[in-house]
């Protein structure tokens, strides 16, 4: 029953957007986490989204039948990667974490970018919730058939 699929699909979208919101909040919280060692400094993290196909899960790599549709089964988070962008080196010689030359390594988090990410993630989450509630209404309607 494909209406049941919608719950899985919208649910996968919601969980993916939650992970995105989690990484965003982690990035914003650590935007000022300094260290004297560039290897230990926090780096911005981003989730990688990937579309998931129904036929890939059922063992048939390609399903060409005209009556059975492969709508796909939502989105999954393939992993979380750290940004390669250069760290911000600020000259603060009196900072306790400053290195021998007086530089402090600040994370490569772009707070403006993260805020835009946050808004985009919460909007996508809302859309998925709307889709799920519409599917729920459609199912409830079918249950009342003949009444």
């Amino acid at each position: 029953m494909s209406l049941m699929n919608i719950f899985d699909i919208a649910g996968s979208g919601m969980s993916a957007q939650t992970i995105r919101l989690n990484t965003t909040s982690s990035n914003i919280a650590n935007a000022e986490s300094v260290s004297s060692n560039t290897d230990e400094t926090y780096r911005a993290r981003q989730p990688i989204f990937k579309a998931q196909l129904e036929s890939a899960m059922s063992g048939h790599p390609f399903n060409f039948s005209a009556t059975q549709l492969d709508a796909g089964s939502g989105v999954k988070v393939q992993g979380v990667v750290e940004s390669d962008a250069p760290l911000q080196m600020r000259y603060e010689p009196h900072h306790p974490m400053a290195d021998e030359e007086g530089y402090v390594a600040y994370p490569n988090v772009n707070v403006v970018e993260e805020m835009a990410n946050m808004i985009s993630a919460s909007r996508s989450y809302q859309t998925n919730v709307d889709v799920m509630s519409a599917a729920k209404q459609m199912m409830q309607q079918v249950l009342s058939i003949g009444r």
Binding site: N5, A51, S65, G74
Partner: protein
């Protein structure tokens, strides 16, 4: 004078099923609105409904003996009966989902689902009143 319930329901049962499948295709587009490289998909409602009704479509059908065989001639833009949407503007990450288009299509599909349901419900009710003889 047997009444065939299948015939009585006619096109509406197929329409309702197809509408619910289209809803899951559109839901999948919305869930993948932020996936890089994802191509938005949709189904050709008219030709799919014709295929469901058992009417010969304009395409030749091939004989199949295995689930992974194809029954229609393959088209480059068609996989599992779904077609790819033409993007209105390109995105740098290769994603062709337009969230506004998908949302309006989903809302329209839900309304058309409700219409198909009302027709089917009327059929069921008329059968019930015939059985009761009221």
């Amino acid at each position: 004078m047997a009444i065939s319930i299948d015939k009585h329901f006619g096109i509406h049962q197929h329409a309702l099923e197809l509408r619910s499948q289209r809803a899951s295709v559109l839901a999948n587009n919305i869930a993948n609105a932020d996936t890089p490289g994802y191509k938005a998909r949709d189904l050709d409602f008219q030709s799919m409904l014709q295929a469901r009704m058992g009417e010969p479509s304009d395409k030749l059908t091939l004989k199949t003996s295995n689930q992974s065989h194809t029954s229609t001639l393959l088209q480059a833009d068609t996989i599992s009966g779904l077609k790819f949407r033409n993007p209105s503007q390109p995105a740098i990450d290769g994603n062709t989902v337009d969230a506004q288009v998908e949302k309006t299509e989903f809302a329209r599909n839900t309304m058309e689902y409700q219409a198909a349901f009302e027709f089917l419900n009327g059929k069921v009710k008329s059968l019930l009143s015939a059985i009761r003889g009221e």
